[in-house]
Amino acid sequence: MTAEPGVQELRELVAEFEPGRGHVMPALHKVQDTYGYITRTAIEVVARQLNTTPALVYGTVSFYSDFRTHPPAETEVAWCCGPACRVMGGDRIREALQQELELPLNGQTPDHRIGLHIGQCNGTCSEAPQVWVNGEVVGDLTVAKAIRLARELKAGE
């Protein structure tokens, strides 16, 4: 894993953002897009840049489910919790995935290889029930297919 970005580097990254102009989210997106997650130092740097407190910036980070304070796993599996998927048996797929990957929702294996988290429906319900593997839809799942997928991921295929 690469070292966490330093203060100077972060300051340059967010130098374009200004207080009072709706720049909190864009600044946080830029940090996460660049490093994959938002570090404690980044929260402090963004707060300073936007003339506010780290508490308010941390509050923002923790409010939204797509901001991360830890690096993502190599392979992130997002399980669609939406209604079309649920109607097609999605919750049993979650049960099996958690069991097979030995992970809670929003958990990560100790070696950071595989992560599992909740995904929200993006309107690809025609493929329900589904998961996203690193953003790619794996649809038309059955529980059996989900178990085999999890085994392949664990085996590193």
């Binding site: 923002t60 409010f63 209604p83």
Partner: protein, 629 residues
């Protein structure tokens, strides 16, 4: 019309005409989130390669969605002479070579064809307009989808784009508001509040600057109408906002797009950049002396940021917590300045209202709700797609016509009309797609995402999901909402686990009457699903609570998985698949070690004849009695 706009339009029309008369075959691929899920990106790459390999004189382009989301990737092929265009579906990467081979030989490919878009039908390929899915649709918002390249502003301009804005430029603000009011355009997020009245609030506000917000958060799971529009014809939204800006003297606009829609975000960003480049946004627009800026803003995963004041806080503040109203956005919105919030589809209707007039727009049907509306359908039906129709058809018509019926073996049990706050309706095929019937049932029609379910769905489980969603997404401001949804989830899960109690109906009633005191609609309507489901599916709920029985075979605490025929050879695969190793050898066959079973159902998928789902309580009570209890 503004002469600079006229020049833009005429040059766009020329370039469109020369594209059409290029004498080259034109192959267009639907490129949106649904088609990407089926490999549309790869299809484009393979098309380029196949065209080169066959030395076909052809161009490969992209379009927005036709609405045939369940048959993506969709591809149109227009002959070199321009005499015929055919729409093909299910053109997966594996089918590309075959298609191009046929096209290169001057043939079509009836087995993948959906219909003829322009030109004459053939013996094997009917007109697309005769396809059952297209029947009864009135495609106005979706007119360009499948036809134009959403990333090309000239394509938009060549199809009447920015003409509505051109008309509005010559009118005063009051006249624009009047046209919108006359049309009867109601808010498309589901409230139906007249857009013209909202715009008039902004027009008559005294403070400045003033803001427009386009609500592109589309947080209702199971709804993707706004996504289809943004990905397919983004300039419609830019133009709609420009018209609203003239009507309300707005200085700047924000388009707030949810994080789950990266392609919509990219397309709108591009559309806005192109509009700036053509002088349609910025200072002194087309020399008119008017200024208007648009910022495309990306959310980060929060349902309550779809609530208008949560959205405003998400832009101008820190956490996206819905504000306490009043003041309303019209008085104090973004940076406490007058702000108008409308849904994507509300703005997108404005260009054609200006272009063709309020009367033309509203006379599409006799329904009280004017104009057309986009809907997406999904769940237990054959077709999960996107349509544009006048308000008014019945649920029965919807299922038969635009959903291709229920999937084999599935019966309609009910449906979710419009998101987690909207309620759950029974299998009433006579309910119409209009606002009132749902209001009368204490529900909402919502923003257009309808999810159908069947006998294998349990309404207690469905409510457990919806309330879990509401709990997760509560912003935490009101104890009624964050504590109340948490309590509701606890009760629902307890019922699902077999611990239902007599007092639970009363508990729900208490929660319903407590949550209405929440600050925003999220809390106020979080219990709608439970309230409506308990009433509409009372027998099912009583069975869960009193008889400890889940007729759909879903609730984990109320069912057991059992081996019915221990010698079935399929059990070997089931045993290998079982994620907990619960299927264990037993004599010459297998049995299920119940404490290990997590009721995932994988075994039943691969050994459907060997495994059965039984009522846990009924069976155990009976077995206990047989054992001499």
């Amino acid at each position: 019309m503004n002469s600079r706009l006229e020049a833009l339009i005429s040059s766009a029309k020329q370039s469109w005409a020369s594209e059409q008369a290029s004498g080259r075959v034109r192959i267009n691929v639907t490129l949106d989130t649904s088609s990407q899920a089926k490999g549309a990106g790869q299809v484009i790459e393979k098309l380029h390669a196949a065209v080169a390999a066959k030395k076909l004189v052809a161009d490969v382009g992209i379009t927005g969605s036709w609405g045939f989301c369940w048959m993506e990737p969709c591809v149109t092929v227009r002959t070199a002479a321009g005499t015929q265009t055919v729409l093909y579906a299910n053109v997966t990467p594996e089918r590309v070579d075959e298609l191009i081979e046929k096209v290169a030989a001057g043939h079509d490919m009836p087995e993948l064809a959906l219909g003829v878009v322009e030109g004459n039908p053939t013996a094997d390929i009917p007109l697309l307009s005769d396809h059952p899915f297209m029947q009864g649709q009135v495609r106005r918002l979706m007119a360009n989808l499948g036809i134009t390249d959403p990333e090309n502003i000239d394509h938009y301009l060549a199809h009447g784009g920015y003409e509505g804005f051109g008309k509005a430029l010559e009118m005063d603000a009051e006249a624009i508001v009047k046209e919108i009011l006359d049309s009867g355009l109601g808010g498309r997020a589901g409230g139906g509040f007249p857009a013209g009245r909202k715009w008039d609030f902004l027009r008559t506000a005294t403070a400045s600057p003033r803001y427009l917000v386009c609500n592109a958060d589309e947080g209702d799971p199971g709804a993707w109408v706004n996504r289809v529009l943004m990905e397919g014809d983004p300039h419609l939204i830019v133009e709609g906002m420009l018209i609203a800006a003239l009507a309300g003297h707005a200085d700047a606009g924000y388009i707030y797009i949810r994080y789950e829609y990266p392609l919509a975000f990219a397309r709108l960003k591009k559309a806005v950049e192109q509009a700036y480049a053509k002088g349609l946004l910025g200072k002194d627009i087309l020399g008119s002396g008017k200024d208007f800026e648009i910022v495309v803003f990306l959310g980060a995963g929060s349902y309550v940021c779809g609530e208008e004041t949560g959205l405003i806080n998400s832009i101008d503040s820190y956490r996206g917590m819905p504000r306490i109203k009043p003041p309303f956005p019209a008085q104090a919105g973004l940076w406490n300045k007058p702000t108008n919030v409308n849904n994507v589809e509300s703005y997108a209707n404005a260009p054609m209202i200006m272009r063709n007039g309020a009367h033309w727009w509203s006379s599409v049907s006799d329904a009280k709700e004017k104009g057309t509306k986009m809907f997406t359908f999904s769940g237990s039906v054959n077709w999960a797609g996107c349509v544009e129709i006048p308000f008014g058809p019945t649920i029965g018509e919807v299922i038969d016509r635009w959903c291709g019926g229920m999937r084999p073996g599935l019966e309609l049990k009910g449906f979710q009309p419009g998101g987690p706050l909207s309620g759950i309706a029974t299998a009433n095929r006579d309910l119409t797609l209009t606002l009132d019937p749902y209001r009368e049932l204490g529900m909402f029609l919502g923003g257009g995402g309808i999810v159908f379910f069947d006998q294998h769905t349990c309404t207690v489980d469905l409510c457990s999901y919806f309330l879990g969603f509401c709990e997760d997404e509560s912003c935490g401001r009101c104890t009624t909402c964050h504590g109340g949804t948490q309590r509701a989830v606890e009760i629902l899960r307890r019922i699902q686990a077999g611990g239902g109690r007599d007092v639970d109906f009363e508990n729900f009633q208490k929660l319903v009457s407590t949550l209405v005191w929440s600050n925003c609609f999220h809390g106020q309507f979080a219990m709608t699903t439970v309230k409506t489901a308990v009433k509409a599916f009372e027998d099912e709920w009583r069975e869960h609570i009193f008889d400890k029985r889940c007729r759909a075979g879903v609730c984990q605490g109320l069912i057991d998985y059992r081996v019915r025929s221990a010698g079935d050879p399929a059990l070997t695969e089931a045993a290998e698949l079982c994620p907990t190793g619960a299927i264990v050898p037993d004599g010459s066959g297998y049995t299920i070690d119940d404490p290990r079973c997590i009721r995932c159902g994988a075994c039943k998928e691969v050994a459907p004849n060997a495994i059965e789902v039984v009522d846990r309580f009924a069976v155990r009570v009976a077995e206990g009695a047989a054992a001499g209890g």
